[in-house]
Symmetry: C2
Subunit: 448 residues, 2 copies
């Protein structure tokens, strides 16, 4: 047996990036992945007619230099999300279409939403990305939920609904799940609200040819048999000599370990010595968001012929947010919808055919009766995934940052922490996953 | 091997009560306890001079019929907490003494606190104990933290500080950790605020002779070799044939299992089939409170000679709440203090001697310089306990009850759920632990 320098737990973007950087630096690495596939919270789905779509994370956009660099390195191509035609909004009981980025809300609603955006961006700009709790007003903002801020700061019911939709779209969570300080951090971490929410020039601008899971497939191909699938780590023991990881069937030893899994899953690995109490307590307070990603494949993107972009935002669920997720080289059309937060938990408990019916009814509400008759339908409830237990990422409730959540990035003995939740830039996104993976790899390399 | 009818996981009050009720009904039971002791979140400590005190839960009081009935059944005696003399408050920078239950706040502060108490009690009375989300205003209250309600409803800074102290004392958590709906539920679950907070006629009225861990010791003695210590359950598998539980060294089979452990620890047991996604998501959102219970033993209860009760409440930490925890039959005195919530996490990370010094400084602030020189000192950081990971109990953040938390009491196949967090009456207390244990046992018995 050859000695292993570092084991990475989790073959998502963050873990594989860390492993690849270590391998490039000449380290002997091993990656232990619990699932029988790589990809983490990215996952491709192939319709029977051949179109590959993503039922997990899928987008990249401007200001995401790290993931764009990695795509370049891996020779993966991007293409823009379909973004032509009119968008739709359903608020105040009325379906309205609009062109560009500003919905046709009543003027007082628009004003309400825009003043909120200006305030959020202005406050977010001040947040120290390495540790939001260093801001002089951090305590005040961290004791408040985003829901409380919305109630205080928006004057119109529709304006508040729009902000709730933003919370769902960005966090897969309700405003009352989130510390207001974390929301400000997240906005700054993702540049600003326009960038976070936008298609053109925003975080939803581009997709990856062949589907986003290809990022991990390409990295895994380079790592070869260093990547071991179907190896859920159950226990971990470290001492002066090294770290031992136990899976159901094997023991793996190395000098260093990089954990690249969601925070809540860290607690499901028995550790010796125990994690310090404060750290366990913080991890108990970092639940995953909840999202069901739903897609229907149609003979054609029929909405385009009617001048629609496929993008809808709505006050009515379960699908409150849609996109045209068709793929290049196919004449077929794909509508994609998100079910988020509370509704994701409710609908993940429903029978699959009921959920399908409810989703298609939403698509039909926005794009017409044709949407009721797809060729195929697929959805993915991320809470049901054994080694994700939710998406997009962990949520920071009130008090977490003030209680030292920035220290969750710090190593514990021989354990280092990657995963997009430990990123300072684009936390929760692919770009953050890359940043975290590269930072953790650098920590290990610096120990030599 | 004789067949086992039911396995109980966790030898705290709830699990042992469940096991004992099943055994009394003629069932063959086994109890698997992870620690090398019974007691769960109760734990006795013996000072070298022989005094037994409790570093975990310790009190019983009126309206707690179930635990009082069990004590009677087990022939355990109670004695009142020392409650004579003047209490102290330190608010607004001033240490004041008062007799009875109403501190000598300035009139406008007193009025502010009392109007809040009246409103909380009035709203709490309306909450359906079996499922708070059935209240017509549950959605509104569950989207709000207790912190938001305090900011809205109290007009004075000192009044707010008092409510924060209440939050720490009752939940071992900050107001921003808690759904306002949950706070209302908890008040009703514990009768009303006076009962929840009181010594005389309240939840802090009586202690158990020999220490509260004796409850579990007595139950375990009756169960004999059915109780197996040092058996942390790592994995659980159920199918039509039964349930199999795996510990580090053994496999245990039975027809039914009662889980009597804190919610967050349920997620640390690998389950097959997986828990449903919605259920995992809710458990991810039920962290344990954080508390350090601190006690100093003195030659005499010197504060009594100065007319003091040993009870202090304070705006200054780390110890903001103290009691005289001396025991009958000893001439020595015991001061007890609580460090709660954020401060408990911070101080559990500190060196033991620094924590001791900080606690004794608090005791001296309230009771004089003599408090700096105890014969012995002991404290217990519950976040550091591997099979508790926090105390007193799980905290319900915004959205949990509305997302179906009441359904966490429902069985999952052959799994039934006890533990004080599944109680409707006196959740979080011994009495709730007994109710939950008896309810879970009754579920299993009803299946015959």
């Amino acid at each position: 047996m050859s000695r292993i320098d570092a084991i990475v737990v989790g073959a998502g973007i963050s873990g594989l990036t860390a492993a690849w950087r270590l391998a490039q630096a000449g380290k002997r690495v091993r990656v232990l992945e619990a699932n029988d596939r790589v990809g983490g919270r990215t996952l491709n789905h192939r319709f029977t007619s051949g179109e590959v779509v993503e039922v997990g994370g899928q987008w990249v956009g401007p200001t995401q230099a790290r993931i764009l660099g990695l795509l370049n390195e891996l020779q993966l191509e991007t293409f823009p999300l379909w973004n032509q035609g009119d968008n739709l909004t359903l608020f105040g009981g009325k379906l309205k279409s609009y062109r560009g980025t500003i919905p046709r809300f009543a003027p007082h609603v628009l004003l309400d939403v825009l003043q909120a955006q200006v305030r959020l961006d202005r406050l977010a700009k001040q947040i120290p990305l390495d540790d939001p709790s260093r801001h002089p007003r951090a305590g005040e903002w961290d004791r408040m939920t985003f829901a409380e801020w919305i109630r205080r700061s928006l004057k119109t019911g529709q304006g508040r609904q729009v902000l709730e939709l933003v919370s769902g779209a960005v966090f897969a969570a309700a405003p009352h799940d989130l510390s207001f300080l974390h929301v400000l951090f997240y906005i700054r971490s993702g540049t600003d609200l326009d960038t976070l929410l936008g298609v053109a020039n925003g975080a939803q601008q581009d997709r990856i040819l062949g589907g986003s899971q290809r990022i991990c497939e390409e990295l895994a191909a380079r790592l070869g048999d260093a990547v071991r699938l179907g190896q859920p780590v159950r226990a971990l023991r470290q001492d002066e000599a090294g770290v031992e990881l136990l899976t159901d069937s094997a023991s793996h030893q190395s000098a260093r370990v990089i954990m690249a899994i969601p925070p809540t899953l860290l607690l499901r690995i028995t550790q010796e010595p125990l994690l310090p109490g404060w750290r366990d307590q913080l991890l108990q307070r970092l639940p995953q968001g909840a999202v069901i990603k739903c897609m229907a494949l149609y003979e054609t993107p029929f909405w385009r012929a009617r001048g629609l972009s496929g993008q809808a935002t709505s006050e009515r669920g379960p699908v409150r947010l849609t996109f045209d997720n068709s793929v290049p080289g196919s004449s077929k059309g794909v509508l994609m919808g998100f079910i988020e937060g509370d509704e994701a938990r409710q609908w993940s408990a429903a029978a699959a055919d009921e959920r399908r019916a409810a989703v298609l009814e939403c698509f039909a509400r926005y794009f017409g009766a044709e949407a009721q008759q797809p060729r195929e339908y697929v959805d993915q409830c991320w809470a049901d995934e054994p080694f994700a237990r939710g998406c997009y990422a962990a949520l920071f409730p009130p008090g977490l940052w003030s209680n030292g959540a920035a220290r969750l990035r710090q190593p514990v003995g021989r354990l280092h922490f990657a995963g997009t939740e430990t990123a300072t830039r684009w936390m929760g996104y692919f770009d953050g996953a890359v940043q975290a993976g590269e930072r953790a790899a650098a920590e290990v390399l610096a120990l030599d």
